[in-house]
Symmetry: C2
Subunit: 322 residues, 2 copies
């Protein structure tokens, strides 16, 4: 009989979940709508109902060891989801407490980037590492830092906000209410903003000039770069320079063995890795030069978010805390 964890990844639009064994094998995965549910009660009813159905489809007997949840603004210490801008449930939701009405199993929740970092440690490329961090480059920029073999949750459970270090004091407007945050430059959305800035600079001289802001995606920018589009190539150089400089700063504080990139923009592969690594090394303190690996997440093409969520509870049970 196989031990499995239930991993739940809550996104603004959809929630994905699946059963994951200790080796990181995903037995099955499913998706339900998050946004259709106006109340947390209605959502949990639908979620648990679908989990029950999914369990019945399993082709072997399993033993459930616990439930791990990755959610925007998920707080590990308090078991809550707090003021998540993209979810319908406002304020502080006592997620774990509510879920305990359905299951008498160990549970843990954290934000998606922290779950990704634990996923990398338990199932991915950081299995043998005690010091590393993961950067997720999606709509925003998330990060999870591991030092001494443990995730940095910080005093209040909200640590790891690399996306909100200030790059330019009076720079681009950020969803957090401030200006110049790293994620306004470096993320799938950030590079799109850079493309538009460059289209202004070059008077639209690019293959991307026929695409509206709303329609433009990181994949389209990567395709344009592959076709030699100057604006797309310059956007990657610019994005890599800013990310590289900020990674060098984060290295100075935490001295990791490796940094893993994950998410939509990381799929651009060498277009983003090459300039990022070059600028990171150029800005690195001598003592850290040529020591830190910059790697694609080993979970990139798997269901990283569900694996990360499951890893959270595996890790918690095995380490006695995080």
């Amino acid at each position: 009989m196989r031990d499995v964890a239930l991993g739940i990844d809550i996104g603004g639009t959809n929630t994905k979940f699946g059963f994951v064994d200790r080796e990181g094998d995903l037995l099955c995965d499913y998706s339900i709508s998050t946004s259709v549910h106006q109340t947390i009660e209605s959502y949990l009813h639908a979620l648990t109902d679908n989990v029950q159905k999914a369990m019945k489809t399993l082709k072997e007997e399993v033993r459930f060891i616990g439930i791990g949840i990755g959610a925007p603004n998920g707080n590990y210490y308090k078991g809550t989801i707090e003021y998540a801008p993209n979810l319908n449930w406002k304020g502080v939701v006592n997620f774990i407490e509510l879920l305990k009405q359905y299951y008498a199993l160990p549970m843990a929740i954290t934000n998606d980037a922290s779950a990704a970092a634990i996923g990398e440690m338990v199932f991915g490329g950081a299995k043998s590492m005690k010091d590393f961090f993961v950067v997720t480059l999606g709509t925003g920029l998330g990060s999870g830092f591991v030092t001494n073999g443990k995730l940095i949750y910080g005093h209040d459970g909200f640590a790891g906000e690399l996306g909100h270090v200030t790059v330019k004091p009076d720079g681009r407007y950020c969803g957090c209410g401030r200006r110049g945050c790293l994620e306004t430059y470096v993320s799938a959305t950030g590079i799109k903003r850079t493309i538009y800035k460059l289209l202004a600079d070059y008077n639209g001289n690019s293959s991307l000039s026929g695409v509206s802001f709303n329609d433009l995606t990181a994949e389209m920018i990567t395709d344009a770069a592959r076709d030699g589009d100057k604006v797309a190539l310059e956007a990657f150089e610019y994005t890599g320079r800013i990310l590289g400089m900020e990674l060098a700063d984060a290295v100075a504080l935490t001295s990791p063995a490796a940094i893993f990139l994950l998410g939509g923009l990381a799929r651009a592969a060498d277009f983003i890795f090459e300039p990022t690594y070059r600028h990171m090394e150029a800005h690195m303190m001598p003592v850290f030069k040529n020591k830190v690996k910059l790697l694609p997440s080993a979970l990139q093409d798997k269901n990283a978010a569900v694996l990360g969520a499951a890893a959270l509870i595996w890790n918690k049970l095995e380490s006695g805390n995080n």
Copy 2:
């Protein structure tokens, strides 16, 4: 019989040492010259000789539990001092290995700022904290980060270099070989450089215009500010703004309960604390606002470096590692 640790603080000019009990009481402290010794062997001979003499002056029987050492570029994992620019012993010195020829006691070494952070945790204002960091504002800017109750040494033992995050890409020249590092703006030396920049801007219109660069100290700048000197006051505002912004970034990554300032420039009290806190809060992500204390180190007016070095070995023995 009291248990005591030997704490050794190695500076470029002098080495201080003392015996410290579990409560952080310093039984006695001594100083010998570091710089007079051209070889590590001659230095260790003099150091151990003086430690023996000091032991004989103790007025009570004690039991030695171990030796903690704070040294520039001290490496906790390897027990070495590596390429310390201000010491006569070049390259990699196997300090712990050499000291073991004199004592059969548990030993540990780290850099001075990391020792200060552990001192704050064991004897100072962070006794009840698991997440905090210490910033030392002396000739340079050092830092030690504690998360999950453990110091971040990082993969290679050299983490905690907040002094070398980049503030301005083409800014002031730094001793590390790069430009624009935080410590070139924020440190006893950094504020001195700022005074000179402002003397240029204001054509020497300041009470400090009669002091040469070599003679100027942080204390003199504080005195001038107290007397209402505009250049000195502007220098503190400028220094506090840069430090505050960088602290806000470090908070975003590590979410500490408190930040402790220590060292010469921290003695300027409100002149440095007030603008630093104001700019830190102004630049903080909403989720961290009004949560993080900015405090003077509780060891500020004690022998912080010797206490920190002793705390290192107390902490190591009690926690099983760092």
